[in-house]
């Protein structure tokens, strides 16, 4: 059965190569049938990869321990949903899974554009099949996922216990969707450059795809943060680890692109810049994959060392050379049609927003790569820790937060003082008010700045919704709730965007709360002893045990008291997985009024039952969850398709104009 897998991968590689050649020939010879054949081949590649992935999944589910991958990342006692997750739990499987997403997305793109964008499509096929071809090469020759063991294993070595967590089932897939999704705008940008069709057709065609990728990239990052928070047991959710940074950098440049693209749509400016951002974002997704797989940078949760690094680096160099070369070649055609009118304008706010996003991305890149850079320059490896990232990014992030309040409200072209006063008087008042309250409560200047800005942005968003709703009420006589819903339905992009901003404001609230006001305590106690953290008193009652065939548990029973009243019992645990004999820490969390009480069983003495407990109080952390959900909701609103009747004029006439019917 598993023999099908390598066959499908062989065939897939051949088909991908064919798709590239025939598409290019189609462009050269102006043969529409060649182009169509390339598109069909791309669909066939998708079919092959589906077969290969299904074969590996099947081998995992039936526990075929002849296969090295299956034996290495699963076992017969592993629950089914983690057996499925093992498909992306190891290097080889994750590459195959990555390819599965890439080719699936390619298939959708090909089908969507059957009758559209005929001039762009052969180039799009070429770009996407080149990326797919690269992964197929790796899977065929460098890291074959169906490699057999010399002697079949009796039992698998099991999935890494740290990965046996429910976030594991959704974090990597969403991150991969985000990473791979960014290939679509890149492929269209490449097609626009190569074909010379540099109008904004490629931008409108890929707008939803970019949002789609951004949606998953955002969620992937958030899920990763929550995973770290609930699993790694150090009380925080973001450590500026190279692996986290690898996923964060494309998010930053991708977000910059989502903003700057609006300037191109509205003002025909920043054409080169947008190309640069799309190329950069794609390059960073490949670079991120390289970082997590090469072992170039040591990281807490990715020690994976493999010989794959150089291949990714070569592919990255190749992709960058080709796309930057094309960009330079087309530079004269990418003139801006407008100029900046004033420093006090929406255009300028967007430009500074872009500079900040790219600046943060650069700082993160610099910090992540500093060991390599310093070794090249000074001959010593120097690493930088989280304080570097926090120090650089906190002010930049706050500046971005400020622009988030300014950008959507300030006038295009040139803002007058009268307009500024009208738009910002109320929000600034709110901001100052919140700042005074924050100072009175905390006496912390960072908190003052952060909460002022949060209140300021919140006020601008509320004011926008209020103004729009009132206008509809006055004009059309609708009741307030109906007016609000219709307002959003009619301007999904604008108001969905505000909802996303609202989510970001909530995330900023969580970050401010947890980074400035976190309490942390480490105590070593005998059974019966107590300690306090914040308002809580905690009593350690001793250790409890539980045993299952797959895992055994050791829990510390801790009574939670408010005053003299016991309100809860928490059990932070150590788990001992039996296959790779390895303990893991399971934290216990109690959420109440936005604040988490977070307990970790650090270590214990088996004879005396003396235990070391770590306790954290994370204020406002619930906003991280709610902010993430709000952000997702906002993105769904923005992406929601227009009703069919309204859809046609949105892009069909232009598409027809630019590419002849086939």
């Amino acid at each position: 059965m598993f023999e099908l897998g390598p066959l499908a991968l062989n065939l897939g590689l051949a088909l991908a190569a064919y798709a590239i050649v025939i598409s290019l020939l189609g462009v050269w010879r102006r043969r529409r049938d060649f182009v169509a054949s390339g598109e069909h081949a791309a669909l066939a590649v998708w079919g092959c990869v589906v077969v290969a992935a299904a074969t590996l999944l099947h081998a995992l589910v039936i526990h075929d321990f002849r296969i090295e991958y299956v034996a290495g990342y699963s076992s017969s006692t592993l629950p089914l949903y983690y057996t499925v997750a093992a498909l992306w739990g190891g290097q080889k499987g994750s590459l195959l899974f990555w390819l599965l997403i890439l080719t699936s997305i390619t298939a959708v793109v090909e089908l969507q554009n059957r009758d559209k964008n005929r001039d762009l499509m052969p180039w799009v096929t070429t770009a996407l099949m080149t990326i797919a071809g690269f992964f197929l090469l790796l899977l065929n020759f460098i890291t074959p996922p169906f490699e057999l063991l010399a002697v079949a294993a009796k039992e698998g070595r099991d999935l890494n216990p740290l990965l046996q967590n429910y976030w594991m089932t959704i974090h990597p897939p969403s991150l991969y969707m985000g990473f791979v999704g960014m290939s679509v705008p890149f492929a269209f940008a490449f097609a626009a450059l190569a074909s010379g069709r540099l109008g904004d057709v490629w931008i409108r065609t890929t707008r939803r795809w970019t949002l789609f990728a951004w949606f998953f990239l955002s969620l992937g990052n958030l899920f990763g943060a929550l995973w770290a928070y609930e699993v790694l047991g150090w009380g925080g959710y973001w450590a500026w680890d190279p692996v986290e940074n690898a996923a964060f950098m494309p998010w930053l440049t991708g977000t910059a692109y989502l903003h700057s693209v609006m300037i191109q749509e509205k003002k025909n400016m920043l054409k080169v810049w947008n190309m640069v951002l799309v190329i950069l974002t794609f390059a960073l997704t490949i670079f991120g994959t390289f970082l997590t797989r090469s072992g170039v940078i040591s990281s807490v949760h990715s020690f994976t060392q493999s010989g794959l690094g150089p291949f990714f680096l070569w592919f990255l160099a190749f992709a960058l050379t080709v796309s930057v070369g094309l960009l330079l070649w087309r530079l004269p055609m990418l003139r801006s049609e407008n100029e900046l009118d004033s420093l006090l304008s929406r255009e300028s706010a967007f430009l500074f927003n872009n500079l900040l996003f790219v600046g943060i991305a650069f700082a993160v890149f610099w910090g992540t790569m500093f060991p390599v850079i310093s070794e090249a320059v000074r001959g010593v490896k120097i690493t930088v820790g989280p304080p570097f990232f926090n120090k650089v990014n906190a002010p930049l992030g706050l500046a971005l937060l400020f622009l988030m309040g300014v950008g959507p409200v300030i006038a295009w072209r040139r803002a007058t003082w009268a307009h500024l006063k009208k738009s910002f008087l109320w929000p600034v008042t709110c901001g100052v008010g919140a700042g005074i309250v924050a100072f009175a409560v905390s006496r912390n200047y960072w908190a003052v700045v952060s909460f002022s800005l949060i209140a300021f942005v919140l006020a601008t968003i509320v004011a926008e919704f209020y103004r729009g709703t009132r206008a509809r009420q006055a004009l059309l006589g609708e009741a307030a709730p109906l007016a609000l819903v219709r307002l959003m339905a009619k301007n999904k992009r604008r108001y969905g965007g505000y909802v996303i901003h609202l989510g970001i404001v909530m995330i900023f609230t969580a970050i401010t709360g947890t980074s400035l006001f976190r309490l942390e305590k480490q105590v070593t106690l005998n059974p019966g002893e107590r300690f306090t953290i914040g308002d809580y008193t905690l009593q350690y009652n001793g250790l409890e045990e539980r045993d299952t065939p797959h895992v055994s548990y050791l829990m510390a029973n801790i009574g939670i008291f408010l005053g003299d009243r016991q309100i809860d019992t928490l059990r932070p645990e150590k788990r001992f997985y039996k296959k790779p004999e390895q303990p893991t820490t399971e934290v216990a969390i109690r959420s109440s009024r936005g604040t988490d009480l977070y307990l970790v069983l650090g270590s214990y003495d088996e004879e005396t039952h003396m235990a070391t407990i770590l306790a954290y109080l994370n204020p406002l952390i619930s906003f991280l969850y709610w902010g993430g959900a709000t952000l997702a909701l906002g993105t769904v609103i923005v992406m929601w398709p227009a009703p069919v009747a309204a859809r046609e004029p949105a892009y069909a006439p232009r598409a027809a104009e630019e590419s002849a019917p086939s």
Partner: protein, 152 residues
Amino acid sequence: MNRSRKFVIGACLLVASIGYLMVAGLQTSSSYYFTLAEFLPRQHELGGQGVRVAGRVTEGSLRKQTSAKGTEMRFTIGDFVGADHVPVEGTVPVAYTGVVPDMFDEGRDVIIEGKLVDGTLLAHTIMTSCPSKYEPKPGEKAAPAEQQQARS
């Protein structure tokens, strides 16, 4: 032209402040990163400085003691088979008080972050590798790595 010059000045100011933040940040939070092979010959110059050292916990060297202050561990780190492996003789003693990482054990590859005081590394952070995710290293055949994995 004049208007875009204003913007250029603004952009330059922004870029300069990002640069300033980065330089300032680097000065406060950087530490040297060494493999044991690099660390041993120059450890006398590094007294009192923040360092990160990669090595392997020597078999049989681990001593643990739990008291009201937490779990105190003493061990030595020795030869570490990294990507650019240079075999070394010699070990460095490490002292650590705090929470023991789950995957910490003798024979594991670790990165110790701390200060060197009187020839002992006083660790404030121990990072452990995760053996079940090890892939064969470049230059190494898959089979021996396989055994190595199975053993650990």
